[in-house]
Symmetry: D3
Subunit: 136 residues, 6 copies
């Protein structure tokens, strides 16, 4: 009897899409205005989903207060009001597309969440563009 | 060729989180302000999802008017403007966490929906906290 | 050149609608299921709107961080996860309708916000019912 | 390491629910006000979800600009501001329920999206009624 | 001490934009795809706002249950699942733009709401296009 | 008989809050993480509101297609996927707070909209922070 609990969070960040192995011209062709070297930014909305058995004593799969705190410390403090390309270690060598950001977040949280719990991530880059990653 | 049809509903209710086998102090430690003995409350948003074959004559998996009526009778009439702990039978002995509420709703609806149709439930306790249960 | 800055906040609370001068029967007739003596509850969404001149040095009408903190201390700490009728002083003698709650919130905040700034309050009791009060 | 990318789009259309093999009376009984011969309409919200490996050079599963353009050409230009029953070929012989519309959209897009990518469709007929189809 | 109470409602309808005094060509030029003679449609979201004194006995400006019922009878029953041009009397001679629909709704409700209460109407034709009318 | 028509638009941009007359330390103290010299960013949601008489021939206050196009050309093309501090002329000497951005947008649009129409601007910096400016 497994239930998924979901917690929404958000962070506001600057980024640009850029492949360092390419010329500027190719970056501009492939990534369009997202390659702007002066950066642009987003209000990222994040949903962290954790699936597991309900603990009979608490009625919780995972205490939402603990999950909220974990997202604050592991993700919001590191990503919020930051320039992802310049200030988040993982994106110094990895293009900060929504896809790659979702994988980085999943990897960070996977280390901190009980291995009996399944983890998936939904990340809204804009209200019209979003991605989901579940580690498979 | 299976399609999932989803219907949103809502109910407003009071509850508190509480384990009757624990001391008040332990309830306060584990559940924090959610353990307030005077209750607090939520606008619960419910999504009921039913998956099955499209009937060739109607083009419906399940008539949404029938599903809406079923949710009204089985869930909204019993949960809306109620104190879940005091007035909903299931929660007299079960802690009304979002997880447990979703299981109770799933069990109630499962009895009333054609067994050829798969059922899952999403329940928003707040816009930032929600759970999903599909009976597995 | 006046701009209005708006900050959203929320609190989850239990309440019932009740006039202590009336019989229970009259309360039930007028307030319907909202009069339930066991309480029900809501996720209240609050928008606090402050209108004034832009400070030339900061570009702010009012620092949103200060406004957020003020709403936390004056409103959220006192209303969140509370039973409004039982635990918020103002509603011991005042029926906690959305209308009256908005006036109480406006009065609390008015004392703490610079008198050169105009104040108005929008309070959502549900996504379909909300009220606005601007002190007039 | 597969990620799902999702793109939201919308179209506004008129339709009626109607089975040409039935009498008008039976249509009215089964479909209620949705059978109105003068039509009614909706703001359809569409989410197109594409799952696959992240390309190491771009960091994309599928370029969102390409997906947006594809939805524009294949779906929005053909469905937006149209009468689905009268003006969209598929619905001349198929009842335009949300279920059937989602299957028609999935079939149209499946032809244009790389077969290594999984496709699913979510279609909101109203904010409270929506369907999902993934081709199974 | 005046508070505004707001109630959201909705209706789904077909319409077309059309001036009967013009040629079809001019209608097509001015109204574009909105002039489609086969109609298109929308999920209209309606907010009815009523401003007045709080009644000291009830704490209400106007009982939301009464306002909801009034909107049901006066607007939803007459507009929902209808073709506005063909089936709503007012639009047989008036172009059903969002602007004109808001005026028609305001006029209908104004007759039924206490003259001591101020009335305004917000009507969403789509999530991106909406209008407001307050009778001035 | 004046109606307000409202059109939503959006743009994604990077910015930082910064007063060039201040030391870095004072900028950091006043603007906190918003002063990050590497920038952060937002999905700005913009509502442009235009109030005036309904034209009897069209039923429009202002053709929404024209308003949409005007916002595209005057605002979205100049602000979207840009670094506001570095790439938008007005903010080279003006701190791009939400308040100041709303005034700049209002001034740009005021020049292009018929003087018989009243103009106001609502700008969401995040879903919880937004501002309104109407030129007064």
């Amino acid at each position: 009897m497994k239930v998924t609990v979901n917690r929404k969070a958000h962070f506001n960040a600057a980024h640009r899409l850029y492949n360092a192995d390419w010329t500027d011209a190719r970056n501009a062709t492939v990534f369009g205005k997202c390659a702007n070297p002066n950066y642009h930014g987003h209000n990222y909305e994040l949903i962290v989903s954790v699936k597991g058995e309900i603990h009979p004593e608490t009625g919780f799969v995972m205490d939402m207060k603990v999950l909220k705190e974990l997202i604050d410390v592991e993700i919001e403090e590191k990503f919020d009001h930051k320039n992802l390309n310049e200030e988040v270690e993982a994106f110094k060598t990895l293009n900060p597309t929504a896809e790659n950001i979702s994988v980085v977040i999943w990897n960070k949280l996977r280390l901190k969440i009980d291995e009996n719990l399944e983890l998936s991530i939904t990340l809204y880059e804009t209200p019209r563009n979003f991605v989901t990653y579940c580690g498979e």
